[in-house]
Subunit: 433 residues, 2 copies
Amino acid sequence: MSDTVNNPVKDAAKDALSEPSSDSGISRRRLLGTVGAAGATGLVLGAAGGAAAYAAAGETPAELTTVGSTGVPFYGEHQAGITTPLQARGHLIAFDLAPGAGRKEAAALMRRWSALAGELMAGEVPGGGDDTGVALDAGPSSLTVTFGFGRTFFDRTALVAQRPPELDPLPAFSSDQLDAGRSNGDLWVQIGADDALVAFHALRAIQKAAGDAARVRWQMNGFNRSPGATGKPMTARNLMGQIDGTRNPKPSEADFDQRIFVPSRPSGTAYDWLAGGSYAVVRRIRMLLDDWERLPQKKQERVIGRRKSDGAPLTGGSETTELALDRAGPDGKLVIPGNAHARISAPEQNGGAAMLRRPFSFHDGIAPDGTPDAGLLFVCWQADPLRGFVPVQRKLDRGDALSAFIRHEASGLFAVPGGARKGEYVGQRLLES
Amino acid sequence: MSDTVNNPVKDAAKDALSEPSSDSGISRRRLLGTVGAAGATGLVLGAAGGAAAYAAAGETPAELTTVGSTGVPFYGEHQAGITTPLQARGHLIAFDLAPGAGRKEAAALMRRWSALAGELMAGEVPGGGDDTGVALDAGPSSLTVTFGFGRTFFDRTALVAQRPPELDPLPAFSSDQLDAGRSNGDLWVQIGADDALVAFHALRAIQKAAGDAARVRWQMNGFNRSPGATGKPMTARNLMGQIDGTRNPKPSEADFDQRIFVPSRPSGTAYDWLAGGSYAVVRRIRMLLDDWERLPQKKQERVIGRRKSDGAPLTGGSETTELALDRAGPDGKLVIPGNAHARISAPEQNGGAAMLRRPFSFHDGIAPDGTPDAGLLFVCWQADPLRGFVPVQRKLDRGDALSAFIRHEASGLFAVPGGARKGEYVGQRLLES
């Protein structure tokens, strides 16, 4: 295989709507599929690349767009799937280590999973000869696979001394209605891709590679906009119709890394294995859409504090204009109400607490009570949950007008190690400490 | 609004991967969103189109790709969503008429739904002032909304004399394990779009517009590949990893219309209201993926009769090569086994019985027994189910090697009227007969 074929990864931060800039978007997976096919009828192909292979088979050369051809690097300082642009499809899955499995089995599992994630994200057919084939034909489609450790992982692996205090259980919030069976877990994997079959393929491969070491605890499916469905400048919308994510920290901001990633500590410190990592808070937030949709739009906007059309604050401007929190209207009342979601969650109202919100919407059909089982798979990232999610959620829990229209149904908190270098696996610095 | 803005619909059969050919892809929805935003800050915009509106607001002009900008016409000889290329996201929803609702309420409902579907498919914000906003910013994204009537609809509307015998209940198949609560229904709506939020928006709008006339009976979600994830020549794959749909009738074939659409009968005939329509058979087919994936690929290929890599028959060639059904291997046995799925379902083995299979995959997480609740929302279209789905399924039911790996869990049969002309509604010729 040529280098081109072995290295199809492109910078995912590049515009996902532009045309592919090179042949590198044609993945080894697609080429192998074609070679396999041709081989069976006696055709022998050179390493001329996927498009040529298709031409040799008498078919129109395939035309991936960047939707399919974009690859995200697995190896690096941070794991992928944190600053990667939102993908159209996502799976969250949590595992518990199997009875009898400990640190050794966990290390072997993380080694297997890391190698597999590296192959999948490069658009390669995973080794072992038992691939399901569900992702054949497709490019890597911005696939990311991200691994995290829950609090209980450290008990099971006898690594309690290495467990950072940031993994202490989240405080209870008065509005929580959490289902323990769909919360937490020893291990957590986030999968995202711009193609549903590529994402499903990765999910099944990760499950299979768990082998006897870990058992599925819970699993959830989500989605976001398809690339190209809207123009570039659009922030995501959620299923309430609101633009969602406007105030997210931007990688271009000077303090971004400090807010999102765990800093390095003096070598030998118990928690230094997490340098370059992050904490993920995961919440299944059910939206009470029947109630919400009965609310007239003007009232919805007062609940949020922003206009539905473009996400601009009710005090005017565009989506990115700062909230004029003190401005009163002609009636003397605050234009952005005191309990508006945007006010209460604003970083400047929370001592600068910041988290990178990177959610998927979910829709699991109709619940037994006839309402839509839909909402937000809220995933947020921060260097310290006590300075990110917790203070903001505490405040929202007390006074957010949106609370009447949502319900937190499941919760997880995971320590997400930094990225692996080639030849390493995610979590190696912990598991081999 | 200019004509361009009011008529953004393009031919959906055109290549979904090419660049937009005109400004018409910028939907009224997006323009309205922008106008609304600007209006609130006192900006007055001309009818210069969406891109200009964005520029006026100081933002980068939006760049929809054809993923978002493609619109499918609602009005026409046939309903959309039958020959429309597979979309990335789908919802199936069935309703029963509410107690007390009859023909009059059904007619009013179909009038409301048709007008709504016309607006949604054109990328317009539905009238009435209570839009959820979930599809704001997005183009129509190949949205289709397709309506069908179940057998019981004719009882409820006292139109039994107009009920065609083709709507008689499907025969029971020995391998059926059908859930009545997720089967059939008075009314059926199929929604498809290349963007998940556009599809969800349409689903909620259709539900809301049902008002007091009809109640949701069941609802299912599905998906297919994202446009651009693979090259153009690719037939869809299913969650077993098999290429699926190779033998579908092609609209370019001379007898396509005759096979798929109900012919016109002498005017005044009881069933002539269905001219230009079709019958949809809907089956929720669970795939027993844990069992399937344990089967080595070579054995999987013998179950199907085709290669996994490219869908070519085991007797060689490419995906579109005819099956050499009589060919034996060196061992004297048939190369395509006697119970291979491709053999048993081949049109030439079924008196030419043909149906247009247009499925979505589904994945509803993990079932209570720990297996994936995943498979195929099988939807097939034919002029007569007794010459399409039924004979093929009867044969598969008896001897298909694939049967051990699938389970039919729900079933529906619906008469899908022809398309509406402007000013008409779907089913008008029945309901006003």
